[in-house]
């Protein structure tokens, strides 16, 4: 165990000490900004996402109430009301028709179903049987022979992805303005993985309810990215992507010039996925989790995300600056494995806080080369430090 890790563990532990009746969020964010030790992460994320209140004394009551409320949502949306509505029939198109709602739900469900089944295929976790199936467990399944629904599988117990299916369906019902958008499956995956793998069984048991609330908290901050009608607005994803390329331009105009002006690489080609999914598809799950520690601990959420993206690009600068369109895009869409996310987070912080000078184009070209050289040295130094 590296000394750096122990130091970090101690710092986070101090903030979360039992004797601290009220958690100092500022201190917590500061302590977590370069990562949270595994055993403290489930609690840390619940706090950082503003789900758990800061007063320790109210936790027990609060969690009991929230988890009961979640059960009520499950019975409302999933157990369903089988009440017969006279005069209603399957071909009734009016919005008040229960059948109309039923068919709309099936479309949403079929979409969620397709996506949660293929979440993180490289690991076994989401295919496994959960130790804590929902007690009301009438699993979300389409009740009609609708062609978009796969036949219900006969399995003993409930798989982890089925839990996610239920959470996402409830989220879509409660948020009709956003509903379910592809990619939400990728965002909920790491949250649930962290909560469900909690070694403390008393917490793991309620991973489902807590994931639902934490997902809702997270979505409250980033849902604009998922709303099509906001795409062109100030808060939509198009503007986030534009700002990202502006950031690249102001930090490294030469590289921006090569990638964006010369090769015409648009942010839609790669940064859409990076930014809207908070890099969850770019790295393996353990790395995504480490990365999210820092993103969640960001006092100015989620501005660090763009800087991590910039750090990713800068870490590949040598290759990208001379790459062809195809080679550059291939790299940006398939970020190389084995890059330490800790290094990237450090670089992201350093760029944001001005500890790494931007590579401004000065009057003379040789200066540019010198500055680029400086950055390269800096990057090597970081890489060296973190591998130690």
């Amino acid at each position: 165990m590296s000394s750096r890790y122990v130091e970090r563990l101690t710092r986070v532990e101090e903030v979360l000490l039992l004797k601290k009746l009220k958690i100092d969020m500022k201190e917590l964010k500061h302590a977590c900004s370069y990562g949270i030790p595994d055993q403290l992460r489930p609690l840390g994320w619940r706090l950082l996402l503003n789900y758990l209140p800061t007063e320790r004394a109210v936790w027990k009551r609060f969690l009991e109430t929230q988890r009961e409320n979640y059960d009520a949502l499950v019975s409302q949306f999933i157990e369903g009301n089988d009440g017969e509505n006279e005069g209603d029939h399957p071909l009734n198109e009016s919005n008040s028709s229960e059948w109309k709602g039923f068919f709309d739900d099936n479309v949403t469900l079929a979409q969620i179903d397709k996506d949660v089944r293929r979440l993180c295929p490289e690991i076994q976790f989401f295919q496994q049987i959960t130790a804590f199936p929902h007690k009301l467990k009438n699993n979300v399944r389409c009740k009609s022979p609708n062609d978009v629904c796969a036949a219900a599988e006969v399995v003993e117990g409930e798989r982890q992805w089925q839990v996610l299916e239920r959470i996402l369906f409830i989220y879509s019902k409660l948020n009709p303005g956003v509903k379910y958008v592809q990619g939400m499956n990728e965002l909920i995956g790491p949250l649930y993985f962290v909560f469900a793998s909690d070694p403390d069984v008393e917490w793991a048991e309620f991973a489902e309810a807590d994931t639902f609330y934490c997902f809702q908290q997270m979505m409250a901050e980033i849902k604009d990215n998922f709303i099509k009608t906001l795409d062109d607005s100030q808060c939509g994803i198009e503007s986030t992507m534009r700002n990202f390329h502006d950031l690249l331009k102001s930090f490294d105009p030469l590289l921006h010039n090569h990638l964006v002006v010369k090769l015409q690489i648009q942010p839609q080609f790669y940064a859409f996925r990076w930014l809207s999914l908070m890099l969850s598809q770019e790295f393996a799950l353990p790395d995504v989790i480490t990365l999210w520690d820092s993103l969640f601990a960001d006092p100015c959420r989620f501005s660090l995300l763009s800087y991590v993206g910039l750090a990713m690009i800068e870490s590949q600068r040598d290759f990208l600056i001379n790459a062809t369109f195809a080679d550059a895009l291939r790299l940006l869409q398939n970020f190389p494995e084995g890059i330490d996310v800790g290094t990237l987070v450090c670089l992201a912080h350093d760029i944001r806080e001005g500890r790494v000078a931007s590579i401004k184009p000065p009057e003379e070209k040789k200066n540019i080369v010198a500055r680029a050289g400086n950055l390269k040295d800096k990057l090597r130094e970081f890489a060296g430090n973190l591998k130690r």
Partner: protein, 210 residues
Amino acid sequence: MSSAPHKKALLKVIILGDSGVGKTSLMNQFVDQRFSNQHKVTIGADFIMKDMLVDGRLVTMQIWDTAGQERFQSLGVAFYRGADCCVLAYDVTNSTSFKNLDPWRDEFLIQASPRDPEHFPFVLLGNKVDLAQDRAVSRKKAEAWCQTKTKMPYFEVSAKEAVNIDLAFQTIARAALARESQDTQDFPDFPAQVLLDCGNAKSSSFCSCQ
């Protein structure tokens, strides 16, 4: 002698269709001769290149595999522009994915706005023919639809069992090649390079035009 026999053509192809019809699998089968139902949801679009021989000529296919959910259509314009051929894909066991072909085709034509949209090359792929027992759209029905779209070529394929994939992509490449050699000014609205750099209100003071 053909014009520029030594120049390798770069053909841009875009695959559209509902989520889950197997667009990514079709592309993977074509490029890597592999099938896996274990791939992630496509968000935005994935990009892949492959060299192939078409009628003795070496061409590079630049294939864009797009996200299937309707939400992502507004991003489409970034991917659609400059396409030489558009592949529409549906799942023969899912009638909704067949019904949505018209909207996908319309959306492409609106967003890409090619010259002469009536003759822009499309190719239709009906995937998952290995699931014969679950078939929901007949070959006849699909062929009839293609007839109404200036005889769009149609292939029944299976990404899982590698049925007709090479044949389909040969046709796609040929259609793209024919289009590409026809007119380089296919997309009149494609912005000139210089505009991208200087038209941006937020450009920094280092913009070369200032």
